[in-house]
């Protein structure tokens, strides 16, 4: 975690800040979701508490906190309490593995009467070289939280919701894992930072020994794997239990699904978990298919140079340049989060057999075909990211 006190402190604080960022984005997203749905459905939405209803979230949080503590006597108390805590963990850990901005280089400096440095701080909680594998492994642990909640509540609606959720999550896990394989062949790495490095500049690749350059398109993964992106995005909706795949909490049939017996802050934690998974899915989409924290072409280089120029201190300039790229990343992620919300108010829910058919009989064969076609094109054409 670091070689001296300063580095360890910064790394731990960074970890906390990234986690808090995730938790703090949730109320904002809930507000966006409520206002956005109102906008889509030609309503007003929450607009009474504070300007534009912005402090509604604060009022909601306080209300959640002061709700009566309730445990159904027929439940398994330990599982019932463990489930909301467990819902938080996978999303938060997975999000920590994604680079949010470029690494910050810090030159040696003097502080508290001693000499520190030099350091390089990664703009992420931890940089694992198995990047995407880690994220896929951890984020699918989210199914356990739902299963524990459903089983622990000892209510038939909860149980059915949990079973549906777990069956749905494992079914779409297959298509999700396979849809990324095509792009991994091109990137030749599982590490996110290296992937982002490869997506710089305009679209350029080798095909039959000739170098092709498309100057008006950025070198993003989506232009190499459009089908892969479509499959991944669809699977991400199913994994996060969002409409049109929200059968675990289909309120017409299952009341509220796995969190029927939960209320107050415990239910809020399931929400944080769900939004956390949405954030992870959006961040992975951004990093894999949309160039991560980099702006298209070489604009991010000009941006960081401009920001660095505005500060006299080299270290401060570096920190602020990383912050600027972090904003770019945040904007991209927020765009995908808005797509999640947008789709929710656009598409109706599937029937359960349709959902399973889509996962097993449509998306899985297409993902397999995608892998085969990509492998074949690489073999004959030698195409790919430079």
């Amino acid at each position: 975690m670091g070689s001296d006190v300063f580095e360890i402190t910064v790394n731990v604080v960074k970890m906390l800040l990234i986690f808090l960022l995730m938790v703090q984005l949730v109320p904002i997203l809930v507000w966006v979701e409520r206002r956005g749905s109102a906008f889509i459905q030609n309503r007003f939405g929450p607009n009474r508490v504070g300007p534009l209803g912005l402090t509604q979230l604060l009022a909601d949080a306080v209300k959640f906190l002061f709700k009566e503590e309730f445990v159904p006597p027929s439940s398994h108390a330990l599982l019932y309490y463990a489930a909301p805590v467990l819902a938080l963990v996978p999303g938060a850990i997975a999000f920590g593995g994604i680079p949010l901005s470029m690494p910050i280089e810090i030159q040696p400096f003097d502080m508290f009467g001693s000499h520190w440095g030099p350091y390089t701080f990664k703009f992420q909680s931890y940089d694992l070289n198995i990047g995407i594998l880690f994220i896929l492994a951890i984020s699918s642990l989210g199914a356990y939280a739902l299963l524990l909640a459903g089983w622990g509540s000892n209510n038939k609606y909860s149980l059915f919701g949990a079973l549906r959720a777990s069956a749905q999550m494992v079914s779409y896990e297959l298509a999700m894992g396979l849809s990324l394989v095509g792009l991994l062949m091109l990137y030749q790495t599982l590490n996110f930072s290296q992937m982002i490095e490869l997506q710089k500049g305009p679209l350029h690749f080798y095909f039959f020994g000739r170098e092709l350059v498309v100057p008006f398109l950025p070198n993003w993964g989506i232009f190499y794997q459009p089908l892969g992106f479509l499959l991944f995005a669809t699977a991400a909706f199913a994994e996060t239990n969002r409409l049109p795949f929200d059968l675990p909490e289909a309120e017409g049939e299952l009341v509220a699904g796995y969190h029927t017996e939960y209320g107050g802050l415990k239910m809020l934690m399931f929400y944080i978990g769900e939004y956390g998974h949405m954030m992870v899915a959006s961040a992975v989409m951004t990093t894999f298919y949309f160039g991560g924290y980099e702006l298209p072409f070489h604009l991010s280089d000009s941006l960081t140079t401009a920001v660095r120029g505005a500060f006299t201190s080299y270290n401060m300039g570096n920190v602020m340049a990383a912050m600027a790229l972090f904003l770019v990343f945040l904007l991209k992620v927020l765009f995908f989060l808005w797509v999640f919300i947008w789709v929710r108010w656009t598409l109706p829910r599937f029937r359960y057999d349709q959902l399973m058919d889509l996962g097993w009989k449509t998306m899985l064969p297409w993902a397999l075909a995608n892998v085969l076609i990509t492998a074949f094109l690489i073999l004959v054409g030698g195409g790919g990211v430079l």
């Binding site: 906390l16 709700k67 963990v89 599982l190």
Partner: protein
């Protein structure tokens, strides 16, 4: 390498536990009534039945998932080294390996569909 992950997991779990515990302290304490403590039911008198039967399909889906997921996991290391082999001129071998692998995968999937293991009614 894995230490920061464990530290973060501990932080988040502590945060969550404190939230749940804190809320149980601040919340109002109310009287227990029989109706409130029944498992949730939509307007009907609650039936408490500890032995709920669930469809065997869920279990079957889980088994099928394990088998297919392990096969997909094997593709990851293959995908990462594939282009290295293509550049060295050994790509055809690796491609046919993949072809056989996916052929077996597709065979399994076809068999499942034929055996109606993926039918929901």
């Amino acid at each position: 390498m894995i230490l920061p992950v464990l530290v973060l997991a501990l932080i988040v779990a502590t945060f969550g536990t404190l939230l749940v515990y804190g809320a149980s302290l601040v919340g109002p304490k109310k009287k227990k009534t029989a109706a409130k403590y029944m498992p949730y039911e939509c307007g009907l008198p609650g039936q408490e039945n500890k032995k709920t039967n669930v469809s065997i399909r869920f279990y079957l889906t889980a088994i099928l998932f394990i088998m297919f997921d392990i096969e997909i996991l094997f593709l990851y290391p293959w995908a990462v080294v594939y282009r290295e082999f293509v550049d060295k001129g050994q790509g055809a071998f690796l491609f046919w390996e993949l072809f056989v692998f996916i052929g077996l995968f597709v065979f399994g999937l076809m068999w499942e569909i034929k055996a109606k293991a993926l039918e929901w009614d």
